[in-house]
């Protein structure tokens, strides 16, 4: 796996994962080494409380060591050296640094490498430093890159001989000279294009732009419109036709660091044919923090498809919370948790007797999301994590293959939990479509396709009404959380204190739910879905006890001298 770390592409990280060894091997290419480099990991990309491998030079000698930064960003040598240097070599391209790190080191100063997003950080030392402690981390040229470090170990399925490819690329875009651009481009399938199965897709990235193309998605438009206008421009432009908002059905998604996406051998994603739109929308997120001007780009996604339909159509199902303001997060919270349920009653009704198999998942929240987890529960007992990201970032939403396919049977429950941070907000954050509203969604990719498109929940509105009454009565202040105003307005007027916050938590953990067990976003399965009992969990999954490496690095800690000659004399 390979990813550029910085927007100029001076640092390039390659890595591979050894599950038997429970370790990651890193190769860092430094194209233009000056006086050293910091590379490491931290909870959300910050340089405080980070776990770092440091290469530094005093101008004559170079050293490598495992370090950590404290809450003030001061660097310290780690007493246990867990970044093990495997080699360093100069080559025409630059310096290659090879090192190894166990997932878990049992050193409390070290980052625990887990599934999901990892925030990699880097810093470039532009002056000689005489010791690790002398590095002033805030003065260093630095940045962060998000990757899924622990890619699943999946064998690539055999591809059929009649496979064809189609490139959905935005032709010859001039990347705008601004930090963030969402570019929209409309493509079209040939007229009369019959039903095919997409069985794989991969990114097509214009050479030289690897560090600028942040993520890309191909959406299919709604079948109810016969035609869509052509468009090639920024997604937020006033010139963009409104109808493009009806192109929201994900066909393919890629984010930096991801590789080709393969469907399982038995399944493919249907596109083409009657009942499906010919129109596709490509969306590219350009991330251009150094504001390069005039860069031209023709990136996009290459779809691999076959007319020999596979046994099963793949489907996408939405788990989590309904997009409704009744689910809200108080302001000033560092880790407020909301939970959405796909209940046993819904899966009982909507899934085939043999169940479905989830093979990939894309987690989704808006800006306040910090963690997302979906767990499968059977008979009230948690059985399996479907997908978990403890360092989730709304800026890094990829479709991820699961390490193991998850079989879901009728009667199973799928419980999706999102953790939000609203410390920088002064009023409640309600559920909804807006960028400052929140979502809690897991789009799961599965087969065989069923009619169930949405299996989501929200608190019963009657119980929320009782909550507002309680707030009115319990608090000394006269507050207007009266029923004639909207639910967001009622939330905005709650005087937030620990009691009102805790009681809201208690309400969400107690009140019955309204279920959306839907065929499409507006069509429910028949049945009673209001005031449903909250699923109860009698047995939780155990947190895995981290395995400590049998042979930790050398102790006591000492930096490893490197023979690199003099740097930048």
């Amino acid at each position: 796996y390979k990813v550029p770390l910085d927007p100029q592409g001076l640092l390039e990280l390659s890595w591979n994962v050894s599950y038997p060894e429970q370790a990651v091997h890193f190769q860092l290419l430094i194209r233009d080494l000056q006086f050293g480099l910091l590379f490491g990991m931290s909870d959300r990309g910050e340089f405080e409380n980070a776990d770092l491998a440091v290469l530094w030079s005093d101008g004559h000698n170079s050293y490598f060591g495992d370090a950590w930064s404290d809450a003030k960003g001061q660097l310290h040598m780690d007493s246990q050296q867990d970044y093990q240097l495997l080699g360093a070599r100069r080559a025409p391209k630059g310096l290659y640094l090879l090192f190894r790190r166990a997932f878990s080191t049992c050193d409390p100063k070290d980052y625990l490498i887990e599934d999901g997003t990892v925030h990699l950080i880097y810093g470039i030392l532009e002056k000689p430093v005489h010791s690790l402690q002398a590095i002033n981390i805030s003065a260093v040229h630095r940045g962060l890159q998000r990757v899924q470090l622990l890619k699943p170990n999946i064998t690539i399925p055999e591809l059929p001989s009649d496979m064809k490819t189609m490139e959905i690329v935005a032709p010859d875009v001039v990347i705008p000279s601004q930090e963030t651009t969402y570019w929209c481009y409309m493509a079209e399938l040939p007229d009369g294009f019959p039903k095919h199965h997409i069985i794989m897709y991969e990114p097509v990235i214009t050479a030289g732009n690897e560090a600028l193309v942040h993520h890309m998605e191909v959406f299919q438009c709604a079948a109810e419109f016969d035609s869509f206008p052509h468009y090639n421009g920024p997604c937020d432009s006033k010139m963009k036709p409104d109808r493009l908002n009806y192109c929201r059905h994900v066909l393919a998604a890629w984010a930096m660091g991801a590789q080709a996406f393969y469907y399982p051998e038995e399944a493919g994603l249907a596109f083409g044919g009657p009942g499906s739109s010919r129109y596709l929308r490509l969306e590219i997120h350009y991330h251009n923090p150094l504001v390069f001007k005039g860069r031209r780009d023709s990136s996009g996604i290459r779809l691999y498809y076959t007319a020999t339909l596979r046994r099963y159509d793949a489907g996408i199902m939405e788990l989590g919370l309904v997009y409704t303001p009744v689910m809200a997060i108080p302001p000033g919270e560092d880790a407020f948790i909301l939970t959405g349920y796909c209940t046993d009653k819904c899966t009982q009704l909507a899934l085939p007797a043999a169940g479905i198999r989830i093979f990939a998942s894309q987690l989704h929240t808006h800006l306040a999301g910090r963690k997302v987890v979906t767990v499968l529960s059977r008979d009230g007992r948690e059985r399996q994590v479907v997908n978990a990201d403890g360092h989730y970032s709304p800026h890094f939403q990829e479709i991820r293959m699961l390490k193991e396919v998850v079989a879901v049977l009728p009667g199973d429950e799928l419980i999706t939990t999102c953790t939000y941070n609203t410390e920088d907000r002064s009023r409640a954050t309600v559920g909804g479509f807006g960028i400052l509203e929140e979502m809690c969604v897991n789009y799961v990719h599965y087969y065989p396709q069923t009619q169930l498109e949405l299996c989501k929940s929200a608190v019963d509105p009657g119980y929320l009404h009782r909550y507002f009454n309680l707030v009115n009565r319990f608090n000394d202040e006269e507050v207007c959380t009266c029923p004639q105003v909207s639910i967001p307005q009622q939330f905005f007027s709650v005087p937030w204190n620990t009691f009102n916050r805790d009681v809201l938590k208690s309400l969400y953990g107690f009140a019955p739910i309204s279920m959306h067990c839907n065929k499409s976003s507006a069509v429910r399965f028949p049945g009673e879905w209001e005031k449903q009992p909250l699923p109860t969990t009698t047995e939780r999954l155990q947190e895995p006890v981290p395995r400590c490496p049998p042979t930790p690095g050398p102790r006591p800690a000492a930096p490893v001298p490197l023979n690199l000659g003099e740097l930048r004399k």
Copy 2:
């Protein structure tokens, strides 16, 4: 340190603690070895999920190993051997087994040895067993003993030359042939006995009864009565004069496993002299589970005292919760937490400018208590644990010397937190004096003595009233939590569910408090003590990260063969 493990005294444990090594050395004397022995530790003395050292014999060969029991009580060899056998020798008294165990092993199957109560468990193998796995733990003759394993490392202060001793012993008691007896005996100081300082005390235990005398306390009677009747009999007897209930001021307390108690060099506990009663009550708890008949006992406590008064009188202060039903625990809870506060305002008013020094502490709850912790907080930041017992048992209440003396300054807060288990109860447990009501108290021993005897809190009753109103309104059921009935009655009629439980927690974590900042149980210091703001904590103490031993035992795990000859041919 030495303690009998079983009521017959067949197993005797001696141990010492090495703080530099962070390890305990055990010596176990087995007077009548049969086919082996289990010895270990578990959360509350249960044989499931226990950490065990096992000596077993198949009749020919003997083995020693570190084992653990799972949630069903099945034994397994531990993959990491942390009970290190140091030696085994036969002697006339029996077999001595010596072994060592680090406080923390970083093996998740091992018990973490912490300050406070440790529940030791033992089992005697009466038949040969062919392997560890073959041991049926439920069929073993077994039991538990509570001890404070990590005794503080305190240097014994110098004792004055004019020191005298006085034995308060119950003469020639026939221990009743029943499991539990609380025996009361009245003693009397000589007429005109002037003020002295108790500077030390120790247990006096009749030889042979070491395993029966569970704990003993000496109380001083109230000064307001001129005389108290003589009495020597069970404390719960109908013959016991009621006036003995006025003898509640603790002078000395001892529990099994404890040693002599020394006052710090600068302080002594005043007794005798004007304004103090001549009458003392000795209370002995006999624990006689094997129902021995006719055992005679003259145990008690020996006080060491001096007429040369030390610089400071020592005092005892009550921290925690007021004895009031407003603080209640819902039924069915496995770990419900109540918190009592000694606020900055009270210590500001009542403590001398130089502060006080706490040197010992006795934790107290009734039967539902599971953990007790007192923390010192200054400017909202937790600074120091005063005393903590994570495996607290109401059946093992000793006065414990602190590892380090805690200095408390005016303006400091002392926050006492008790954790309760009410899983076996069907109705709420309210605060109060009854054995099925609860308390949360830390009696701290300190000097110099001040007028402050009680620094405790309870929730504001007006806010509790709002809670009952909220319960009435929120719940569908018609419940009578009306103000005209008593608070316990209102608690008993709450329909307990997770919401009502969680909101009660939220109330206790939010509502203002009523402070008892008292000179004696009924006399408050002047000031406003109602509707006081709840102290807030901006910074919590970090849980200490357990230090792992640098040299764990041999791996992979294998039992150590012992050369003990054939056992019980």
